[in-house]
């Protein structure tokens, strides 16, 4: 049963090995075939696995495949084993599905890059790592994938390593991720210490007995793991790497920094839901950080001029949403938003890539405009994505976002403040997304003549994935329609068996509301309409500002120039980090280098060497090179030896 | 005890005298045979048919002035001819001349000493024979002599191995190292080991010629290249000793070859009066000597590199092959 499971991560690994070991020796079509084909096969297998899982009875939807024992150290026993359950099934579908589309898109996008083979090798390695992460059946193997995606993101962000900013961004991503990883590791240690195992099934099953609910230990473990999640999923305070990561090729941004890798943190928290549910304090932290990040990033997104940067902050903001969902114990809502976000954010990035491609690598939206007629497919798909992310009813983003907002208010862990922040963020999101849309595709053509001359719609290889993603962005949400609209929330139902709920029993999450009755339904519907109305207003205001009366925007900017500067410079967070953390670190390092290392350690080592040298200088005369001298010593030795034997 | 010593001494003296005479007449024989082969007459003035020529030579050598050049190593220079001469005499100690016979009521053995490692003795002694030549070449202080000496030592080392291996076949078949037993095993002409060891015999013959520095292997004294090689600086009696030593060596290897491959003193048909069996020994040795001289009259000299190549690349592998094949046959 599903014994092909291991093939799902293995195929990309094979693709990586083929492309990686034969770098520079394969023709481009072969590279493309290997790169896309391996992911495509993984996708097919994932679909098989998904349907196989679906055919099982609800209670036993869990397929575990143990390949071999990895670490057999006493009581510490770790397998290389893959676990397929509803959660990981969703994840592998998202990863392989979106990943496959992005691979295909990359064939067109990277067609003229000299590092074509390397690019696909990295991409495959990344997919392998991500699949390992989501399919792992224990924390340690998950950590392997976790580190793997970190490594790949470093490699891919710095793909154009000849560019200083790109390699800096790569390093930044790596280092910031490290900090988070450290927290994750510590959290893992606490879990192992208490539970004695790292297997998900064991941990989740024994968590209620191993930990005291709401106790300090479980809170610490959850917070530490959340630190890891903030690193990987770009939350405050470790979000700084993500906007810089836009230095990589655009499909990479789409794959890593929008659709898959950044969701690892959300996935991890959802995976550990049984633990988090026992630590309300940690959940609260998660919710607050998520909400704060969502708002914070959205405000920055308002004023950015780089098309990819806007999208990057949008990603950070949307990830905040997901954490908000997790923080109010609506894990399935978080995963739902993860999925829909993967669709439309990938679409947005790929669309941006298409624009950049057409604009000869120009990324500044102030120099765009009026691209609608030049790039019709890109425009329409981009528009669909914008509608989706803004939360217009009927599009996927609406369902997931609405669910999160409702849960933020209605959940046991929810709060009015969280809801308000979420709502404001939604408004801001709609606003800046349509600002982006209008500036890019509508209005005057502000690019120079040369670029204008070269404007062209992207090749089929790129537009087809766009269209597929557009379809997904639109219909992706219908699997999770809210009850209030009279539909069945298939998605929540699907995930219910493994998502911990307040009562500790699976399958009841859907009815887990502390308010009940018709009034409740009315409230939900009312809020839904309120949100939609506000969002539509925001969109219209954006249209007013950036399409009809651009001068108002300029005037606004001048009036609030102080605020604008702060926002434009991302609240000076990078600078603050630089002053508070990096600078002292450098001074400390210089001290260690100049004083401790050079003077003390090197001095000690050199001193030993000096002593040895002086001794050698003294004793070298024994090595006269005169054979007879050696022979004399030798014979003298024999004399002593025989003498000893005789006298004994 | 004393009696044995006495008889042994008598035997030794008889053998030594016989060998010296034999050497003397071997020179006569060589001159005559070569002369006839070259359509000359050879020595004919001293005595009937020149038969006293060796005596005349001996007298001449003994009375010529003994010239010792200035820059010779004197002790070595004096020692060299003796060293060249004595080992060949010593090797006769284990060669059986005749069957045991009784003379005036006494049992007389046909060998001076029947060592059970007779063949090894011969090898030990002949391996010492090279020192005469080497030291002569060295001590003379002349470059021709030195070249002769070096050539001789290299030649000896090269051919000694094949020489030793060539008779291993015989030893393997005979299962003894005693010369006497070897002869006794070769009762009739059919038992001669030359038939069982044709390759071994051929190798022995070639190596023996090389070991005795005879043509075509006479590079240490090659007249046309080195004047006279190792004995260029020798004259008078010392030269005579080299001269005699060379013939004594020839006689020794001939005697050993006879013993090993041709049944020694055994008559071809077997039964023969013991007292006269020495005749067959002499006949066979004579034939060997004749063959030697014949070769000298026939073949030109080897070039030095040819000599080395021949020794190492042909004789040595063949000798090893001979030993291997013989060993395999004896074993199975």
């Amino acid at each position: 049963m599903a014994d092909y499971l291991y093939l799902i991560p293995l195929l990309p690994l094979i693709g990586f090995l083929i492309n990686g070991l034969l770098i520079g020796r394969l023709p481009k079509p072969v590279i493309s075939l290997v790169g896309c084909g391996s992911i495509g096969l993984s996708l097919v297998l994932s679909l098989f696995a998904f349907f196989e899982l679906r055919s099982l009875p609800e209670a036993s939807r869990l397929i575990e495949q143990v390949l071999f024992t990895w670490v057999p150290a006493g009581s510490f026993h770790v397998n290389i084993a893959y676990l397929l359950d509803p959660l990981s099934a969703v994840m592998i579908l998202v990863v392989t599905g979106v990943g496959f589309l992005i691979h295909v898109y990359s064939v067109g996008y990277m067609a003229h890059d000299p590092g074509y083979g390397r690019y696909f090798a990295y991409l495959n390695l990344f997919t392998f790592s991500m699949l390992t992460l989501v399919l792992a059946d224990n924390y340690l193997l998950m950590f392997v994938g976790w580190e793997g995606v970190g490594l790949c993101s470093y490699l891919l962000i710095g793909f154009w390593f000849e560019k200083q900013s790109a390699s800096d961004a790569g390093k930044k991503a790596f280092i910031v991720n490290r900090i988070g990883d450290f927290g994750f590791l510590l959290g893992m240690f606490i879990i192992f210490w208490q539970v004695g195992s790292l297997d998900f099934t064991v941990v989740m099953a024994s968590a209620p007995t191993a930990f005291v609910a709401g106790g300090g230990l479980i809170t610490a473990a959850c917070l530490l793991m959340f630190v890891g999640a903030t690193g990987k999923s770009a939350q405050i305070p470790l979000y700084v790497w993500l906007p810089d990561a836009m230095e990589g090729p655009t499909p990479v941004s789409a794959l890593i920094h929008a659709a898959t890798m950044v969701t690892a943190g959300v996935y991890m928290i959802a995976r550990s839901s049984a633990l988090f549910i026992m630590a309300p304090d940690a959940l609260m932290v998660v919710a607050i950080v998520g909400a704060a990040t969502a708002l914070f990033a959205a405000t920055i997104g308002l004023v950015q001029n780089d098309i990819k940067r806007v999208l990057a902050y949008s990603t950070v903001s949307q990830l905040g949403y997901m954490f908000l969902a997790c923080g109010v114990a609506a894990f399935s809502a978080g995963i739902f938003h993860l999925m829909t976000h993967a669709f439309f954010k990938a679409l947005l990035f790929l669309g941006a890539g298409s624009v950049i491609h057409a604009m000869s690598n120009e990324q500044d939206i102030r120099k765009m405009g009026g691209l609608k007629k030049h790039l019709p497919i890109t425009y329409w798909t981009f528009l669909l994505a914008c509608l989706a992310i803004a939360g217009i009813p009927g599009f996927s983003g609406f369902f997931s976002k609405d669910e999160i907002l409702w849960k933020a208010l209605s959940s046991n862990h929810g709060h009015l403040l969280l809801y308000v922040v979420g709502l404001v963020t939604a408004l801001l999101t709609a606003f800046y997304m349509f600002r982006l849309l209008y500036l890019t595709f509508h209005g005057n053509e502000r690019m120079d003549e040369h670029t204008k001359h070269h404007l062209h719609e992207s090749p089929k290889m790129m537009t087809v994935p766009l269209m597929v993603l557009a379809v997904l962005s639109v219909i992706g949400g219908y699997v999770g329609m809210p009850h209030v609209l009279g539909a069945t929330n298939y998605f929540e139902h699907w995930l219910a068996p493994i998502m911990a709920s307040e009562t500790g029993h699976g399958g009841e999450a859907a009815t887990d509301l502390h308010m009940s009755g018709a009034g409740n339904t009315t409230l939900e519907l009312g809020l839904m309409f309120l949100a939609v109305a506000l969002i539509v207003c925001a969109i219209l205001y954006a249209r007013h500002l950036y399409l009809n009366k651009p001068e108002i925007a300029t005037r606004l900017r001048e009036r609030f120039s102080g605020l604008h500067t702060v926002l434009y410079n991302k609240y000076f967070v990078d600078e603050i980090y630089g002053a508070v953390i990096v600078r002292p670190l450098i001074y400390g390092s210089v001290f260690l280098w100049k004083v401790v290392d050079v003077v003390m350690i090197d001095g000690l080592a050199n001193g030993f060497a000096r002593v040895g040298q002086d001794m050698a200088e003294l004793f070298k005369y024994a090595q006269s090179g005169r054979v007879r001298g050696y022979a004399t010593v030798f014979v003298a030795g024999v004399v002593v030896l025989v003498g000893y034997l005789v006298m004994r | 005890m004393l009696e044995i010593a006495l008889y042994s001494s008598i035997k030794v003296i008889v053998v030594v005298v016989a060998i010296l005479t034999g050497c003397a007449y071997a020179t006569y024989m060589e001159r005559k045979v070569v002369a006839i082969m070259q359509h000359r007459i050879g020595p004919s003035y001293a005595g009937p048919w020149g038969l006293l020529q060796p005596l005349a030579d001996a007298i001449k050598m003994a009375f010529k002035e003994d010239i010792v050049p200035d820059n010779v190593e004197r002790i070595t220079y004096a020692l060299a001819p003796i060293l060249a001469f004595i080992p060949s005499l010593l090797s006769f100690a284990v060669v059986p001349f005749s069957a045991d016979f009784s003379l005036v009521g006494r049992e007389i053995t046909g060998v001076i000493s029947d060592l059970n490692i007779g063949i090894l003795w011969i090898f030990a002694v002949t391996s010492l024979g090279v020192y005469g030549i080497i030291l002569a070449g060295w001590s003379s202080g002349s470059k021709y002599s030195l070249l002769g000496g070096i050539r001789s030592s290299a030649q000896m080392i090269s051919y000694e191995i094949s020489y030793g291996l060539s008779i291993v076949g015989v030893i393997l078949i005979a299962n003894t190292l005693s010369m006497r037993e070897l002869v006794e095993q070769q009762g009739t002409i059919l038992d001669w080991y030359v038939w069982k060891q044709p390759l071994g015999f051929l190798l022995y013959l070639i190596c023996a010629i090389a070991e005795t520095n005879r043509a075509p292997f006479d590079l240490p004294e090659a007249e046309s290249e080195l004047v006279a090689g190792y004995h260029t600086e020798y004259s008078s009696f010392r030269f005579g000793m080299f001269f005699v030593g060379e013939y004594a060596n020839m006689l020794a290897v001939s005697a050993v070859g006879t013993t090993l491959f041709f049944g020694g003193w055994q008559a071809p048909w077997g039964a023969f009066p013991a007292q006269l069996s020495i005749i067959w020994f002499l006949i066979k040795v004579f034939l060997f000597m004749f063959f030697y001289i014949w070769l000298r009259a026939t073949f030109p000299r080897f070039r030095y590199d040819q000599l080395m190549d021949f020794g190492w690349k042909i004789l040595f592998p063949l000798a090893v092959l001979n030993v291997l094949v013989t060993g395999a046959i004896v074993l199975f």
Binding site: K620, Q623, G625, V627, R628, A631, V635 | -
Partner: protein, 101 residues
């Protein structure tokens, strides 16, 4: 036999001592080499004497093996001497001091 084994052993010791002195004192590498051979031979003599005394042939085998080793040693050693002499034009072992610091 009337000669006691101690006489043979003493002779071996004397030869060994002479060899030792030769090795230590001789500056001529060829003579030095021969002294080593002499020392080997003195050991051989002791082996032979013990063999005879104990009526065991094992000592003879040992001598045989020692002879082989000596032959190998001489071959390699002399080859080295020739090579070194080609470069240094000397057989004075004290001038073969290129192995020093």
């Amino acid at each position: 036999m009337t000669v006691p084994i101690s006489a043979y052993l003493t002779l071996a010791a004397v030869l060994f001592g002479i060899g030792t002195i030769g090795v230590l004192m001789s500056r001529n590498i060829i003579i030095l080499f021969m002294c080593i051979e002499l020392m080997l031979n003195s050991a051989n003599l002791a082996l032979i004497a013990f063999s005879r005394a104990l009526n065991m042939m094992d000592g003879h085998v040992m001598v045989f093996l020692v002879l082989t080793v000596a032959a190998a040693e001489a071959a390699v050693g002399l080859a080295m001497i020739i090579t070194i002499f080609r470069n240094r034009e000397t057989i004075n072992i004290d001038r073969y001091s290129m192995m020093k610091w």
